[in-house]
């Protein structure tokens, strides 16, 4: 019996790895940006010489008069967009996350977050799954950079379908927003019918216990949620019962849901393709320390830089594969029962 949450309307045969569709989250964003542009003339797109790889070019082809080529100038990218949003446009700014919000962090802080105007920062090629490009281009500090800025909304979609929904949602939230995207093709396991609301965590897998109280809850964001679901399925065979929660919005965090599942399960594993310092795991720990402290293990990059390699090889060797998640679950389960 599948313990996948029926309400989440995930794909059938979710763990059929050989046949699952693989699409990068940036593709979902590209479609979402065109959709937002069709809905509202105020939507404009600014890109720093990376329009094809960020999928901004789909918008540029459809609305050339609303596309602005900025050249390799990320500081100007953020600040020109600030002016345009200040005037009344809805600007999306695109580059690799290493450069935006990496290089232009102060400009985002002062002219977008402190000004409190609705620029949409699109961080492409985030995470170590950029692969061969190496550490310079593997942005694994961006969630931390963005979530500490007041006024900023931070969303990390788990697949291309969710990325499209998230793009349209942040276009019209009237707030400074950050959307984190990956380069590599990744598993598409949600459907157009899967509920999505910024700030609302989604239960992907429920407990098999009649009480609804699982042994451990895995809370993640981004593409690694697929690994989390795979780990939960394997752990079920070892009689360890896991819930899985998609906390796609890192800020504002859905504290209500997180406190609720922490109370139910009593142990948490956080999962993200990001430094364990300052990311989603930290946000969860901050929330639970204040409200309902429980043991927690952190899946993510353990305070080091990435390096060149195959995307999924890097995810494995840096401790974010299915095996690592299973180990973390077992460890936190033991700590809970001490």
């Amino acid at each position: 019996m599948s313990m996948l949450n029926k309400g989440a309307k995930l794909i059938d045969n979710l763990l059929d790895v050989k046949n699952i569709q693989m699409v990068p989250t940036r593709d979902g964003f590209g479609k979402g940006l065109v959709e937002a542009g069709e809905k509202d003339q105020r939507v404009v797109a600014l890109c720093a010489d990376l329009s094809e790889s960020t999928r901004f070019h789909w918008f540029a082809q459809k609305f050339p008069e609303r596309f602005i080529q900025m050249g390799v100038a990320e500081q100007n990218l953020a600040t020109v967009a600030s002016g345009m949003a200040n005037y009344g446009k809805i600007p999306f700014i695109g580059s690799y996350a290493a450069f935006s919000p990496g290089r232009n962090n102060e400009q985002i802080r002062t002219t977008i977050s402190l000004n409190n105007i609705p620029v949409k920062v699109i961080g492409c090629h985030a995470g170590v799954s950029v692969g061969p490009d190496g550490a310079t281009h593997q942005q694994i500090e961006d969630i931390a950079l963005m979530r500490v800025q007041p006024n900023m909304t931070v969303v990390v979609p788990c697949d291309a379908v969710e990325a499209q929904k998230a793009t349209v949602a942040i276009a019209f939230n009237n707030k400074p927003s950050y959307l984190r995207l990956g380069r590599e093709k990744s598993w598409v396991f949600t459907t157009p019918d899967t509920p999505f609301e910024v700030g609302k965590a989604e239960i992907l897998r429920v407990s098999s216990a009649s009480s609804g109280q699982a042994d451990v809850v895995i809370i993640g964001c981004g593409i690694l949620l697929y690994n989390a679901l795979a780990a939960a399925e394997e752990l079920a065979k070892e009689q360890i019962d896991c819930m899985v929660i998609n906390s796609h919005t890192v800020k504002p965090l859905d504290e209500k849901t997180i406190i609720e599942v922490a109370k139910k399960c009593g142990a948490v594993v956080s999962v993200e393709e990001h430094q364990v310092n300052g990311g989603l795991g930290s946000a969860i720990a901050e929330c639970l320390a204040k409200n309902h402290p429980v043991p927690q293990e952190f899946i993510g990059v353990q305070d080091r830089f990435g390096e060149s390699g195959d995307p999924f090889e890097l995810i494995e060797v840096l401790g974010m594969g299915v095996g690592s998640i299973k180990e973390a679950v077992k460890k936190v389960f033991k700590r809970k029962n001490k």
């Binding site: 404009v44 008069e65 609303r66 602005i68 900025m70 050249g71 100038a73 500081q75 100007n76 600040t79 020109v80 967009a81 600030s82 002016g83 345009m84 949003a85 200040n86 005037y87 009344g88 446009k89 600007p91 102060e106 400009q107 002062t110 002219t111 402190l114 000004n115 409190n116």
Partner: protein
């Protein structure tokens, strides 16, 4: 003689500017911190902007037909606050709240706090990009408003600013006018020692800008240059306004040590008693370098 200003108007603006300097010194003394030299040097230009050049409505700061004024070098905001108060954006008495807890007059200006401030600024080199963003958006919508951006010379050390200069040149933003406060000083010394900027004119021209150089204390020349900028087709214009830091108090003019100090904590070689620096400066200021006898003239 100006092509655009009557002599009577020139005199009126000069008197407003001198009053602005007085209010500035009082404002800085009350705050106990802030910058002195730059704001004094920009009193004439802010006066010309708020009392002649800008289309604006202090009672309706978000008026759609307004011209936009960005202040990129946010640290000289005390003089902008003075001009705004004089123009009627808020009561003159509120100037005394500068830099105090709970004030709308933050040490560096914030858009969310004070209506009429178009953008938050302070970190240098980012204002022109924002102004260019507004100018570009307005051209997309066929709007006729003009966008002005005041910059310091020292902030031209910053790469972000050159990105903006390149952008505005590319998109031929003729509705954008930059105004550089060319006073030759920055915190650590003279601009040409810290990081040489010259030839600023040649640099801007190379980036497809129209360049005008004016005496920043000559309101007639300044206003004529602003009008010339409006006539320039398909190019942004920059006014390099040569100004005297500390203008109005001859004893501190050109002295970079007054860049970051308010009266009360400045150097003591001329105004020897820190406790009365503000009062002593006001006494010097009232004559505007001997040009007038009192603020009432």
């Amino acid at each position: 003689m100006s092509h655009y200003l009557h002599d009577e108007k020139v005199k009126e603006l000069e008197l407003i500017a001198n009053k602005a300097r007085e209010l500035l010194i009082e404002e800085l003394v009350a705050a106990g911190s802030g910058h002195t030299a730059g704001p004094l040097g920009m009193a004439d230009i802010f006066t010309a902007l708020y009392f002649h050049v800008l289309k604006h409505d202090p009672k309706n700061p978000k008026w759609e037909e307004r011209d936009w004024l960005f202040l990129s070098n946010g640290h000289i905001t005390p003089i902008r606050y003075v001009s705004m108060a004089q123009a009627g954006y808020f009561p003159i008495e509120e100037l005394k709240t500068l830099r105090k807890f709970g004030t709308r007059l933050q040490g560096h200006p914030e858009r969310e706090r004070l209506p009429g401030v178009e953008s938050t600024s302070g970190p240098l080199g980012s204002g022109l990009s924002q102004a260019a963003g507004v100018a570009h958006a307005m051209r997309m919508d066929g709007k006729k408003n003009r966008v002005y951006c005041i910059m310091s010379d020292g902030e031209h050390d910053a790469g972000n600013l050159w990105e903006a200069i390149m952008f505005a040149g590319k998109y031929r933003l003729s509705n954008l006018t930059g105004i550089i406060d060319r006073n030759n000083i920055q915190i650590d010394g003279m601009t040409e020692d810290i990081m040489p900027l010259e030839s600023l004119r040649a640099k801007y021209e190379a980036f497809n800008w129209h360049v005008l150089e004016v005496d920043g204390h000559n309101t007639e020349r300044f206003v004529d240059a602003i009008e010339e900028a409006k006539a320039v087709y398909e190019k942004p214009t920059v006014l390099i306004a040569h100004t005297i830091p500390g203008k109005g108090i001859p004893e501190i003019e050109f002295d970079y040590r007054w860049h970051g100090n308010p009266p009360g904590s400045g150097p003591t070689d001329v105004f020897k008693d820190k406790a009365t620096q503000g009062r002593d400066m006001l006494a010097k200021l009232r004559t505007l370098g001997g040009k007038i006898k009192s603020e009432h003239e």
